[in-house]
Symmetry: C2
Subunit: 181 residues, 2 copies
C-alpha cells in the first residue's frame, strides 16, 4: 500500500451554525505539496431499524428541506455530544420520534455517509422486542410514523423508491441477518 | 399523510468554497412558525461498482481527511455541473480513477447520503464488460486500486470493515441483482 496520508498544518473556523460547522484546514498531501480541505464537523449520529413482533418495521416520513421532498427513513438523530454512547442516542431517538422502546438491540455496524465533506459516523442498530408508547418530537420537528413489512421495504430499496443511505443499508443488512437466523 | 412541507422565505449565502457551499434559509414550518435551515449545495455525484469478467471488483483505497483514515470505496466523484448526465460522470470517474472502461452499465438507483445537511444525490451504476487501461488522477488526488471478489466485499460490509455508505449499498444491491440473474 502506498503512503496516502494527508497531514494537518492549520485550521481556520469558517462557520459555526446549528447544523453545519465548517472549518478549512491547510494540509500536506502525500507527495509533500500543500492543499486545502473544507469539512463540516459533526458529533456523529445513531439510527435504528425497529422491527415489531409481527415483522413490521416502524418508519418515518419527513420533509427534507435540502431535497425539497418528503422521504421515508428509519428513526435517527444526532448524538448530543461526540462522547455520547451511540446506543443511548439510538434509544433516545426511537423513543422521542416514534414512542417505542425495545428489549433487544443488535449492532448493524457504522456508516460514513459523506466521507469527503463531513466527519459524521452513523451507528446503526436493529431493535426487537418493541413496546409502543407516545412520541415526543423536538420543537420544529414534524414527521409521520408508518409501518411496512421488511419485504415491502426491501422492494422499495431495490426499486429506488427509498433513497436515504442509512435506511437502504439498515434494510438490506437487517434482511440478511434475519434470513440467516 | 399530514402536511409536512417547509417553505423557503429567503436565502443567505454563508460560504462558497471548493467542496462546501453553505447557505442559510429562513423557512416556514408546517405549523406556520418560522425557522432556519443551513444546508450545503452540491452538484450531485456518480458512483460505479465495476465488476470484471472473472467476478472481481475494482475498488479504491484512499485517505479521507475528515475521518483521518484510509477507506475502501467504489470509484465515484462529483458531477461537473448539476446538469451533467450521471452516467457520463460515472464513466469519467471510472476511467480517470482506475483506467477502466465498461461495455454495459446497469443503474442501481440513487442515494441521498446526508438528507438533512447536503442536497447531494449519488447515482450508482454497476459496470460490466470491463477493459483496463491507464488511470489519470486529478491533481491532489491519491489512491490505490485493489481487487476483491463480491463475496469478499459482502463479508467486509457485514463485518463492518467497509463503512462508506455508497460502497455498502452498491455491494449489497449488486449482489442481489447478480444472484437473481
Amino acid at each position: 500500500m502506498s503512503n496516502l496520508i494527508e497531514k494537518q498544518i492549520s485550521r481556520e473556523e469558517i462557520f459555526k451554525g446549528v447544523a453545519l460547522h465548517v472549518v478549512r484546514d491547510r494540509i500536506i498531501l502525500p507527495d509533500g505539496s500543500e492543499s486545502v480541505r473544507e469539512i463540516s464537523l459533526h458529533n456523529g449520529a445513531a439510527a435504528v431499524i425497529p422491527i415489531l413482533d409481527d415483522g413490521r418495521v416502524i418508519m418515518e416520513r419527513q420533509f427534507r428541506y435540502a431535497h425539497g421532498r418528503v422521504m421515508l427513513e428509519i428513526p435517527a438523530g444526532k448524538l448530543d455530544t461526540p462522547d455520547e454512547p451511540p446506543l443511548e442516542g439510538a434509544k433516545r431517538e426511537l423513543r422521542e420520534e416514534t414512542g417505542a422502546a425495545a428489549d433487544r438491540y443488535t449492532y448493524l455496524g457504522s456508516i460514513v455517509p459523506s466521507p469527503a465533506l463531513i466527519n459524521e459516523v452513523i451507528h446503526v442498530y436493529m431493535a426487537e422486542g418493541i413496546s409502543l408508547g407516545e412520541s415526543h418530537l423536538d420543537s420544529g420537528e414534524f414527521l409521520d410514523v408508518e409501518y411496512y413489512t421488511l419485504d415491502e421495504l426491501y422492494g422499495m430499496v431495490m426499486s429506488g423508491e427509498i433513497t436515504d443511505a442509512k435506511t437502504q443499508i439498515a434494510i438490506l443488512k437487517a434482511r440478511e441477518i434475519l434470513k440467516n437466523r
